[in-house]
């Protein structure tokens, strides 16, 4: 018989394995994060987490997001002029198109660009720790 492990449960295990305590509020936030298919910000995550556990405070949402980011479980995206948005780090690396009219975020991936970046940094004597490629766009 297969073990039905929900995505947030396996994230909880991953956290415990790293010595991070899985509290009631962290579990709620994890569940929300792994169920999200968009790129919510802290306030929105707070709103959603409260549905699961009304006691979760906004401060804890922020604290938890930092913890999860450091654990490599979520990625933070800072788009121009808006609060940070978050997504689980399970998907392979990708960059973003931000629809300026709707705020929608479309993910894309380009191995070619990635390689060019690598080459550029190397030429200048640097190694890339992280990078950000955002296309602020409008429908044609």
């Amino acid at each position: 018989m297969a073990i039905a492990t929900s995505p947030s449960k396996s994230l909880e295990d991953a956290l415990r394995k790293r010595g991070v305590r899985v509290t009631r509020q962290r579990a709620a936030i994890l569940k929300v994060l792994s169920g999200a298919d968009d790129h919510p910000d802290a306030t929105e995550l707070h709103r959603r987490a409260k549905v699961i556990d009304d006691s979760v405070s906004l401060a804890t949402v922020y604290r938890t997001l930092s913890v999860l980011e450091e654990a490599g479980i979520v990625h933070r995206h800072v788009f121009d002029g808006e609060p940070s948005r978050f997504e689980t780090a399970d998907a392979p690396h990708h960059d973003h198109i931000i629809d300026l009219d709707t705020g929608d975020v479309i993910e894309f991936r380009s191995r070619e660009i990635e390689e060019l970046q690598e080459r550029i940094a190397r030429q200048r004597g640097y190694e890339i720790v992280s990078h950000k490629l955002e296309l602020y766009c409008r429908k044609r």
Copy 2:
């Protein structure tokens, strides 16, 4: 005899031509901006502008930067976790390497990446309004 037009004087003319008033404080900020070879933030620009004209307030620095940005005379860069930085828009378009250890900003340019971005956006039915490519790096 050649007319010695300082970089900030020609910026002043460009502004007046666009119907933007060149006030004492705007002139000071323009002089600082055109003399800067780094990427200062508003507070740093305020510090420098006060040397020229002690009356310049931080609020006016912010207001002026917005005006200059809209006039296309300066570019604003929002790097992760730090206040916005500014530079005059005279140099051709370029992207940035941010040295994570020193905060230094190195400019670079890649026509190939630019074209790839263009293609990616187009494929998704978008046209690029602006884009951001930042490489957060460490010396190798």
